[in-house]
């Protein structure tokens, strides 16, 4: 009852005119970046990070969260209409969504994607509201060794579940942690790796790095992108028929449950949730041969799962302060900019922010449902804007974002350098997410390890003598070492097979 009361209060807070405006802008921007191939929610959030210095904390966070789930809605539009997934989480929707569009059923496909997303997202918010505070209570027992274990576990989980080779992902995570060491030592104040460059004394800023990695590098990779060719330009009959609803009811239910569970586990992400939901539906269907040829279940299940997972994916961050990917790392950074320390005490110390953000998610999902179906015509037009008009704007926003963080062109140069680094990483198949996570939690991990070792007078045994810390350390070691023994990663071959499909 307390939870429902708090959530109701959160909805009221989020419904204030200012918060509503920021929420509206967030979901609209999110849908836009979801529609536009080449700039994902991470890039959009990176470009908007500098705004944190000017905007009210709650309203600003509401906007950033809005971008993340708005992008899930937008991504499905391009998958269905153009067969180009705006987001990785919409890849699987292309199979049946685009097939439906070719059969003249783009309307019901878009409609069921929007309704499924709404249902999955909303139910997942209630799950988040109940689970996150309980997990945070548990997190209150954590000391520095437990935190060190938890952060190592989170980092290792992301590395373990990386798409490419694990050693490459681990390299990136370590490189990110090393980047985090640049600047003044948090304990002694001694400069580290600054090379007497003034801008490096404060460390390598998260904002210019992520704008470079996610914004600039995307532009460099997509320079030869052409505007999308829309198969069905006039969309009619957006409301699914009764038969469509009958076919989709159970896939939506299963997609919600699966998406919520997968999203809540650190390391697993929205993309995996969509592939798993699709695989389950195909497996249990009486007509698996229809999948890939325009089965509405093949749209309903993954689209529901991606929104459910995108909401439950906040549980580790909001309850334990554990970012699990690039987007959550960026939000983690945004919370820190506002002086809100993510961790077990976050809900207790900043309840208005926690419940306000959750309330805004409920409102945001309603807004998206109301807005998106009528706005589909607009998104089709956006898809046809040539990329050469878009990329100068993305670059410009990136430069402004990097510059306004500190008022120093040195940060713009850092952004450019990491734009090139990001471009090369994409070309050589290195993932940016572990690097960003390493950069974000690097200082926290270092402080936790050093505090633990001060507590134990220099003995590393402290990480294995306390049960919770030992559990996290054991799980991290298992994930790191098991592929050496078994030559495979649990579930990884399944994910690869599904992605190939």
């Amino acid at each position: 009852m307390d939870t429902l009361h708090s959530l109701a209060q959160g909805i009221l807070t989020a419904a204030s005119p200012l918060n509503l405006l920021y929420g509206f802008v967030g979901v609209l921007l999110g849908t836009l970046v979801g529609v536009l191939p080449g700039l994902g929610p991470a890039g959009a959030i990176a470009l908007l990070l500098p705004l944190a210095l000017h905007a009210p904390p709650l309203a600003y966070l509401i906007m950033l969260f809005g971008i993340t789930y708005g992008a899930q809605y937008g991504g499905s539009t391009t998958s269905i209409l153009v067969n180009i997934p705006g987001e990785a989480s919409s890849v699987i929707t292309c199979l049946d969504g685009y097939a439906m569009a070719r059969q003249g059923r783009a309307g019901p496909a878009l409609g069921i994607a929007a309704f499924g997303s709404f249902i999955g997202g909303t139910i997942s918010i209630f799950g988040l509201a109940y689970l996150a505070p309980a997990l945070a209570e548990f997190g209150l027992h954590f000391g520095p060794p437990e935190y060190a274990g938890l952060m190592l576990f989170g980092l290792t989980a992301l590395v373990y579940l990386a798409h490419g080779p694990m050693d490459k992902a681990l390299l990136m995570a370590l490189f990110g942690s090393l980047l985090a060491s640049v600047g003044l030592d948090p304990v002694t104040g001694q400069p580290r790796f600054t090379f007497d460059i003034l801008v490096l004394r404060d460390g390598v800023g998260l904002t210019p790095v992520v704008i470079g990695l996610f914004g600039v590098s995307e532009v460099l990779v997509n320079l030869r992108t052409q505007a999308g060719e829309v198969f069905q330009k006039t969309i009619k009959g957006l409301l699914p028929t009764l038969q469509d609803w009958k076919d989709s009811a159970l896939p939506i239910t299963r997609g919600t449950i699966l998406g919520f569970l997968v999203g809540a586990i650190p390391g697993l992400n929205v993309v995996i949730a969509t592939f798993a939901a699709y695989a389950v539906e195909k497996k249990i269907s009486k007509h698996p041969e229809k999948f890939g040829r325009g089965a509405i279940e093949g749209v309903a299940a993954p689209e529901t799962a991606n929104n459910a997972a995108s909401c439950s994916g906040w549980i580790p961050l909001l309850s334990l302060g554990l970012p699990t990917g690039s987007v959550t790392s960026l939000i983690f950074g945004a919370l820190l900019i506002h002086g809100l320390a993510p961790g077990p005490l976050f809900i207790k110390n900043s309840p208005e922010v926690f419940w306000g953000v959750l309330g805004s998610m409920v409102i945001g999902n309603v807004l998206l449902l109301i807005l998106n179906l009528p706005l589909i015509g607009l998104w089709i037009k956006v898809l046809q804007v040539p990329y050469f008009f878009l990329f100068p704007l993305i670059i410009l926003f990136g430069i402004i974002g990097a510059y306004t963080t500190s008022g120093n062109t040195g940060d713009v140069v850092i952004m450019i350098i990491f734009g090139v680094v990001g471009y090369l990483m994409k070309k050589f198949a290195y993932e940016p997410a572990p690097m960003v996570l390493g950069l974000v939690i690097g200082p926290l991990l270092e402080t936790a390890i050093r505090r633990s070792m001060i507590m134990s007078k220099g003995h590393v045994g402290i990480f294995f003598q306390r049960p919770i810390a030992a559990f996290f350390m054991g799980a991290a070691a298992l994930m790191l070492l098991s592929p050496l023994l078994t030559r495979r990663r649990l579930g990884h071959d399944i994910i690869e097979k599904l992605e190939e499909q």
Partner: protein, 152 residues
């Protein structure tokens, strides 16, 4: 294989340099880990992984497929984009936000997108004006005014 050897060598060199620097910073002071402790461990781990990858790539010795990278075809465009941004960064304080933005967008549209002058100039002017109004006037972001400081 050659490509992988170059990449692994880069990581190994980086690891070598950073581990020496971290050691110089100090690994411990008494029972307390020093400022170099954490970066030292990270640098050593990077070196070990790079060495593992290097040995593996030499053992497997699969041929490179440079065409898969697709860098050659777009290298010129990428260089133009980076050059534009670098010029922007170095001229920002001198010329100011408005002029730099106009020049950057015009450069991209003319050189990379090969648009005609009327389209290039009108779009660049529209972006410069709109962004000046939005960021400078409306959001009051402190952007350099440079040459136009007497006017705006």
């Amino acid at each position: 294989m050659k490509r992988e050897i170059i990449i692994c060598s880069f990581w190994l060199l980086l690891s070598f340099y950073l581990s020496i620097e971290s050691y110089r910073l100090g690994l411990s002071t008494g029972n307390r880990p020093g400022p170099g402790f954490f970066p030292f461990i990270a640098a050593i781990a990077i070196g070990l992984i790079a060495a593992f990858r290097l040995v593996n790539s030499i053992r497997k010795s699969s041929p490179d497929n440079n065409s898969e990278l697709g860098i050659a075809g777009e290298a010129k465009l990428v260089l133009y984009v980076i050059a534009g941004m670098m010029a922007y960064a170095f001229l920002l304080d001198l010329l100011g936000f408005f002029f730099c933005t106009f020049l950057l967008v015009a450069f991209y549209l003319k050189v990379i997108a090969a648009r005609r002058w009327p389209v290039t100039l009108s779009f660049a002017a529209a972006v410069a004006l709109t962004s000046h109004f939005f960021f400078d006037v409306l959001l009051k972001a402190e952007l350099p005014r440079g040459l136009l400081s007497w006017l705006i």
